[in-house]
């Protein structure tokens, strides 16, 4: 989650870093400093550069000469000598070494205390008298850590609807296609989208990513279908469930409940596999819902959905 600028400023101020609000000084040098995570080695990295347009994602993951990078041992933290080595490599004036270390350590402490994933100060302007002026900062924080960063959660700016969906364990991302998707599990939800694209060949695409999460019950399926009804681009919706903890009879119940209450704006194609799949399928057959079709495989379900979009 990306923080609002006022929150970044407030956080940094708690660690003694004040973003300059006044007129920028006549700068001799412009400096970038960032801290990020490198997934491939499981470490944090401090990145510094005197070039203007550094991208931390790029800088953390590769190491061309335009910037200097120091890996940070997660158990030990950022060492002063690493910052001094960086200052030397970047050819910064010697009187700046210690002040830079102080500010890099403060950034690191702020990063850790905030459960950040990225913290960048860009640029620092360095005046001819070697004074450092942090001009702007960006910070993103780890969504998994929001339970212990409650004051930062306000940056999420979720609508009540989004809050409700998130609390139910549903992940929803809107896209620009015509086929609504509901699946359980992130991998299965992505695979469902991929297969629609594969057979849609550019003429039919997924309208969203929606993962109902583990152990989905009737209520979650109803809520998910309700959510998709906001999207007027949808022409058909594909429900693809593989029941482990999730029971397919519960999924069927959710589908039947919502369809019997008010007809959906579009037809459904439903594929149920795994725990209680046969029971769920039979429930849907017995409910005689006019606009609901069952499919045996993901492929079959996707072909039905694509056909509906292409022929309408």
């Amino acid at each position: 989650m990306r923080l609002k600028s006022y929150q970044v400023k407030r956080r940094l101020a708690q660690f003694g870093i004040r973003i300059t609000e006044d007129e920028p000084p006549e700068a001799a040098i412009s400096l970038y400093l960032g801290i990020g995570q490198d997934r491939s080695i499981g470490k944090l990295a401090l990145v510094g550069s005197t070039e203007r347009d550094i991208q931390i994602d790029y800088a953390v993951k590769s190491s061309p000469g335009a910037f200097h990078r120091e890996d940070i041992d997660p158990l030990i933290g950022l060492r002063s000598y690493q910052v001094l080595r960086m200052a030397g490599d970047l050819n910064l004036p010697r009187p700046l070494y210690r002040p830079l270390d102080k500010i890099a350590q403060a950034m690191y402490n702020c990063y850790i205390a905030s459960d950040a994933t990225i913290l960048e100060i860009n640029p620092f302007l360095i005046a001819p008298d070697n004074q450092l002026f942090p001009m702007a900062a960006k910070m993103t924080v780890d969504d998994n850590a929001l339970f212990r960063q409650r004051d930062l959660a306000e940056s999420l700016e979720l609508s009540p609807d989004e809050v409700e969906i998130k609390a139910m364990g549903i992940t929803y991302i809107q896209l620009d296609g015509q086929i609504g998707c509901i699946a359980n599990g992130a991998g299965l939800a992505m695979a469902t989208m991929d297969i629609i694209n594969l057979y849609g060949q550019g003429n039919a695409r997924p309208a969203n990513f929606l993962d109902v999460g583990g152990g989905a019950d009737a209520g979650k399926i109803e809520r998910a279908l309700h959510k998709l009804q906001e999207n007027t681009d949808i022409q058909i919706t594909l429900i693809n469930i593989f029941g482990g903890m999730t029971r397919c009879d519960e999924v069927a119940e959710g589908i039947i409940n919502i369809c019997q209450r008010q007809p959906l704006a579009w037809p459904l194609v439903v594929r149920l596999r795994g725990t209680n799949a046969q029971l769920g399928q039979q429930m849907i057959i017995d409910a005689c819902l006019p606009d609901v079709r069952l499919a045996d495989t993901m492929t079959h379900a996707a072909l039905i959905a694509v056909d509906k979009v292409v022929t309408s």
Binding site: Q37, G42, A186, M190, M193, D194, P206, D211, F242
Partner: protein, 284 residues
């Protein structure tokens, strides 16, 4: 033979919770040797006929457990992993989803310096059909056989395994390494074990967007693997810079796309399918 599931004496950390208790029964039914559980403050209780201990250390002393499956909530899961490692548990499987990344960075580093192996977090664990289940992979989808399955996801894996079983293609071991950015065991680790396992003839690798685990796997496949690898990478249609359900499933700064992974795996000699339901067709 199979990988990782031989001679396991299994503890359940968080056994008195709803999920822990449910899966204790499931694992026990699958033939797993569950020797006890740990829930601080609940020592002396019994769950499904298994004793509950206050600490992993005590549980190990009494039961000689060598494996632990962790179901404790995300805020306490990192601590549970440290406790298992410090008690000398050889194989720690963390099912919990949503552990803060900075906690995991430290855990990851700590485990690397220890004698323990961590699987996960945010993973379904391991199932060797007919032998043992140490995790939450539904036992009824699998059948004994010779295909090794390794994956970053849950339901998609069960679906693929179920399809294989329905076509009489059994599995040697199914292992989910987890959907987080930092996981204890990588694709390479598992590929190496499958390559060395005489009971595994072919491997199914289910990847997804984010990180470079599949790219590293491709390099390993090219250099070392003699067994056939069939692979599906989920997320070809995922938009960039959005987290697709799993914490680790995100294309950042143009890195970790499905396209680059598919290309690397194909160049390494793996068979790539674009529809996971076609995996079985390549295993006949």
């Amino acid at each position: 033979m199979s990988i990782l599931t031989q001679n396991r004496r299994v503890l359940i950390q968080g056994m008195t919770g709803k999920r822990g208790s449910f899966h204790t029964a499931q694992m026990s039914d699958a033939g797993t040797d569950i020797v006890g559980g740990v829930s601080p403050g609940r020592g002396g209780d019994w769950v499904h006929g298994k004793p509950v201990f206050d600490s992993v250390e005590l549980a190990v002393e009494v039961t000689e457990a060598n494996t632990s499956v962790i179901f404790v909530p995300a805020a306490f899961a990192a601590d549970a992993i440290y406790e298992a490692v410090d008690a000398g548990i050889e194989l720690v499987i963390c099912i919990t989803e949503g552990i803060p990344l900075l906690d995991m960075l430290k855990v990851y580093d700590y485990v690397k310096r220890s004698q323990s192996r961590l699987i996960g977090p945010n993973c379904p664990g391991i199932l060797t059909p007919g032998v043992a289940s140490i995790g939450i992979v539904p036992v009824h989808v699998a059948q004994p056989g010779h295909v090794g399955v390794v994956s970053r996801s849950g339901a998609l894996t069960y679906d693929v395994v179920n399809t294989l079983s329905s076509k009489n293609i059994g599995q040697s071991t199914i292992i989910g390494i987890g959907g987080d950015p930092f996981v204890g065991t990588t694709f390479i680790d598992v590929l190496q074990m499958f390559e060395n396992d005489p009971d595994t003839s072919d491997i199914v690798l289910l990847g997804e967007i984010g990180g470079r685990g599949e790219i590293d796997a491709a390099r390993y496949i090219k250099k070392r693997m003699t067994k056939r690898v069939i692979t599906f990478v989920a997320g070809l249609s995922a938009p960039p810079n959005r987290r697709m359900g799993h914490a680790g499933a995100i294309v950042e700064g143009g890195h970790g796309t499905a396209e680059e992974k598919i290309e690397a795996l194909r160049n390494a000699g793996a068979r790539v399918v674009y529809n996971p339901e076609e995996i079985a067709d390549h295993l006949r």
